[in-house]
């Protein structure tokens, strides 16, 4: 099959690329757009390391085709900070030791950002269920949940 021409917007930038019809969005982001922040942990949508936001929805980019990005707006971890100013969630993860090896961190940050846009004041249980699709093997999640709660409070101005 012929390759497909895709026009998309990634982290606010207009992007164009050509990919085979069966290439995943994750591979297109990493291989064609040089955005290696999203990671492949499983390739089957079970670990959340490749989480990005597509048209406002949290998706596992390993389960989305690159071709589906045509006309879509995508946010990856690379779009969270501005210059040398980190997003409050990013800063909170550093301040509260919410990462160890860091391979799951980009996916968790993107998912958490989307949660706080929908619900600025989630309960601990809501955060735990929202992030249930993002596996972390290092932290036991405890510090991640606390870091999200602290960032949420800061973003609410509490």
């Amino acid at each position: 099959m012929k390759n497909i021409h895709v026009s998309t917007k990634v982290n606010g930038d207009e992007m164009e690329f050509i990919c085979p019809p069966d290439e995943t969005l994750l591979d297109a982001l990493r291989g064609r757009m040089g955005l290696s922040g999203a990671k492949e942990g499983c390739g089957t949508g079970d670990c959340g390391a490749c989480t990005v936001v597509m048209d406002g929805r949290v998706v596992a980019s390993c389960l989305v085709l690159g071709a589906e990005a045509d006309g879509a707006e995508i946010t990856t971890v690379e779009g969270m900070s501005t210059g040398d100013t980190l997003h409050p969630l990013q800063q909170s993860f550093i301040d509260n030791a919410a990462l160890q090896c860091g391979i799951c961190t980009p996916g968790i940050l993107v998912a958490a950002q989307n949660l706080l846009e929908r619900n600025p004041d989630p309960s601990e249980t809501e955060i735990r269920y929202w992030l249930a699709g993002n596996l972390c093997r290092c932290t036991g999640y405890d510090k991640i949940i606390k870091a999200v709660q602290i960032a949420a409070a800061e973003m609410r101005g509490a």
């Binding site: 290696s36 999203a38 390739g43 670990c47 990013q90 160890q100 860091g102 799951c104 036991g140």
Partner: protein, 747 residues
Amino acid sequence: MNFISKTKADFKVVGTRVPRPDGVDKVTGRAMYGADITVPGMLTGLVLRSPHAHATIDKIDASKALALPGVKAVVTCDDLGVPEDASLRDVQDNCLARGKVLYHGHAVAGIAAIDMATAKKALKLIEVSYTPLPHVTDVDAAMADGAPVVQEGRADESVPAGSHPNVTTMQEFGHGDLDAGFAKADKIISRSFKTAATHQGYIEPHACLASVGTDGKADLWCCTQGQYFVRELCAGIMGMATSQLRVTASEIGGGFGGKTTVFIEPVALALSRKTGRPVKIVMTREDVFRATGPTCSSSIDVKIGMTNEGRITAADAQLRYQGGAFPCETVSMGAQSAFAAYDLDAVRTQGWNVLTNRPKEAAYRAPGAPMAIFAVESVVDELCQELGLDPLKTRLLNAADAGTKSSYGPTFDQIGLKATLQAALEHDHYRAPLGENQGRGISCGFWFNFGGNTCVSLNLNFDGTVGITEGNPDIGGSRAAISMMAAEELGIPYEKVRTIVADTNSLGHNDVTDGSRVTFAVGLATIEAARAAIRVMCERAAKVWGIDPDAVVWEDGCAKPSGPNAGAFDPMSIEEIAASASDTGGPIAGHYEVNAEGAGVSFGVHIADLEVDPETGHTQVLRYTVFQDAGKAVHPDYVEGQMQGGAVQGIGWALNEEYIYGEDGRLENAGFLDYRVPVASDLPSIDTVILEIPNPGHPYGVRGVGETPIVPPLAALANAASRAIGARMTELPMSPPKLLAAIMAKG
């Protein structure tokens, strides 16, 4: 609580919660992990794996694959040398099978092509003729008469004559008269236990990029816990001189022991050598499950005698671990760990390693200990139930202490077990009320910890800041811990130190990042390297002042004359000394190289509250508290993180995680959907209590902390479940069907 110690006790930087130096890279996506590197001209490598649990390889025909446009090379074991060293040969035969495939997923051939699509297509065109053989995947079945033989002639001299050929080692530890000990007991309990193999479950699959030049010089980038060990293994397998292979460790996306050996690296090197181009291989998750890790599964018998007052009179255990298709010695560590928490007059542990048609076991956090201690702590708990004793007080009564001859031989130095048990006893978690269908379980845990070969280089820059080069991948926050100890010793701010991880050509040999060794051993070497630099800085100041170097001391980041007789000179700061280094003799550095000893053993105690649904067998962890001796917590956040992460891995092992094999010997759950690791919504907050009983073997009292936390959860949860349902759980994982069966069986 006061502890006698010669170690430093007043700290300015150590013990604070400074931001991690790799934090910004990791929260912005800038950090480079194994799969993140690309280079011009790079080929994509894939590995063909066995569909059989056990079979001879009769023929490999790659002609159709090689005829596909874009395919550049196929390699098999014939493309590698044949090392004389048996252990190296095992690593090699695991990377590319020789003559036989020994488990479902065993690598058979590697392929390199211009892109992934071509490589995938070509992989299907490699024709392999197999003759299937009988297989065995269960440890007890593999020891039984008539079991299929996985590999002939692999038993070492420790194995008694007449044992099944699948038994490769047999070890025994202990002391005292068992018969006399059991005769003194008021109650004796014997139980048998089984645990399933579990995977380390790091989120980052193995990945590497190999580039071999026509001059034979090679470079390898990979995610590993030990770039020096990778270099030795790969150079040996490739028949290269060690000096000609440079290995650079990427950021590592988790390892937990599972990235301490090689699986794909020699294949990538062989493909690169054959094609003359760089070759990158990234494992799929399915391949990670089928062909790396896991830990041993086990079958264990434990017999313990106790008096009515709770004193253990004798303890005996037989441990049978299957370590997969190649010999391994993990059972030895299980046998040594089993009764380490107790001060016993009569104790024996025997361990057998057994070959099966499963992937070779790889280290997993305190390898061998969790399952041994699960079995022992379950019997101790049952004895407490039967005799109406408090389980924490009973453990305190029997606890090992400084001066105790351990069950595995050495006499303990300063250890924190009693303090840890006492802290648990006094914690409000231990007294909190429980509801219906809920149980509280406790368990002790033990791990040896390790030091090992370590090199650190510390360089003073002309602006007074410091660069440190160390040789262990940063797997648990070690760059922060190393920078903190250097700043502490030099008396400068943490922000003035930058620690980087060296490639294999930039620093002398460093052992693998295992045994919870890095903060202990690299920290020790860093402190000594800083002291070496301080000596040079004091000499430079003495030179400027025209006084004897012995008359100069180092305080708060400055050289100072030591006393009135040395002369009245103003202190010379590290910045001033650095700025004038050129004029006083040249650049200033400190190095330290050591095979570090004195790691200091570690103990933890966990309390777990569990609710079991009597209708479904579903479990919910309600509350969990970890108590552990860190020696000195260099960065308390990271120590807590290790305690929490290890506990949750143990919770997964206890409740859900297992390798499931079909009758055909094939792994049935090679993915995160069916191999279920704990997710955020499965868990409560994991509370932590850090104790600090200094390790006399480290200048700051540091002990390893990374492995001990996975040891107690198996028994803590089994004890909690057993008390909740009123029946003893002896098999892990305690998945809902097993719990439901136990509930139904008791009527």
